[in-house]
């Protein structure tokens, strides 16, 4: 593991309304496992599918080993007009060549979380949910799977 990019998403993160504590935790996990890795956290992305796809696409040009996207993994605006727009998982649908998907639904039929993991060329790409504990757990599960 030599090169990793972390891409936080969310208008509230970009505006500084919410602190990006997930990136810090993900970077901590990566450096614990791969002390020599070069980890880059990009500026937060707006909740727009095209913007997210464009950003992943541009980062892929640097041939990283892993790209981690944070947030935008639920149903979001599809269920509540007061919630943010969740486009990270659909952006990965559009971007990845081969992928595996795991979805969690509530008993009310709402999509609570959709994790997409796949490859683009030699780069592994996956997303984690925005809430800290879930982001931490999802990232730990991903790296445990690599070992």
């Amino acid at each position: 593991m030599k090169k990793v990019y972390i891409l936080p998403t969310g208008d509230e993160i970009k505006a500084g309304i919410v602190l990006d504590i997930d990136s810090v935790e993900i970077m901590r996990q990566i450096l614990c496992l791969y002390p020599e890795a070069q980890v880059t956290r990009l500026s937060p992305l707006v909740d727009e599918q095209d913007a997210i796809v464009d950003s992943i696409n541009s980062v892929t040009a640097y041939k990283p080993d892993v790209i981690v996207l944070i947030g935008g993994s639920g149903g979001g605006h599809r269920h509540s007009e007061t919630l943010g727009k969740d486009f990270t998982h659909t952006a990965l649908d559009a971007f990845l060549d081969e992928k595996a998907i795991r979805e969690i639904y509530g008993k009310n039929g709402h999509l609570w979380c959709r994790i997409v993991c796949g490859k683009k060329g030699e780069t592994l790409v996956f997303n984690v949910p925005g809430p800290y504990e879930e982001a931490k757990a999802a990232c730990a599960a991903f790296f445990a799977g690599l070992w």
Binding site: L83, K107, G109, H110
Partner: protein
């Protein structure tokens, strides 16, 4: 493509607190504060500069409403939150179960709720 899903049979209500000024919110710290207050899990699911929306698991809306002032006091302690005189708390009813057998299977054509609503 490998795709699987699970259904979480958890009860939750949605809490909305408006009339706030939010800047630099540490969501984890807020969730921990409310965990101590409610003795159950809370997850921040949506934040604007004036409002915080949260999922509260395994707690009845009545309990939340009865303790509204206590919750607002707890939220006021969170890093990045300032309570204004317009602060108010609302809580939805607990979520209702839908029959997943009636949800059409259309992968990548919207989430299950959308498909269920389209069929209804």
């Amino acid at each position: 493509m490998d795709s699987q899903y699970v259904i979480a049979y958890a009860d939750k209500s949605i809490l909305k607190i408006s009339g706030l000024k939010v800047r630099g919110l540490n969501t984890r710290a807020l969730e921990q504060l409310l965990f101590k207050k409610l003795n159950t899990f809370v997850r921040v699911i949506g934040v604007t500069g004036e409002q915080i929306e949260m999922d509260a698991y395994n707690v009845s809306p009545e309990t939340v409403r009865k303790n509204a002032d206590g919750f607002i006091d707890a939220i006021a302690l969170a890093e990045g939150v300032t309570v204004t005189e317009l602060v108010s708390l609302s809580c939805s009813e607990a979520i209702r179960e839908v029959d997943f057998n009636k949800i059409p299977s259309l992968p990548n054509e919207g989430c299950a709720k959308e498909r269920w609503m389209q069929k209804s």
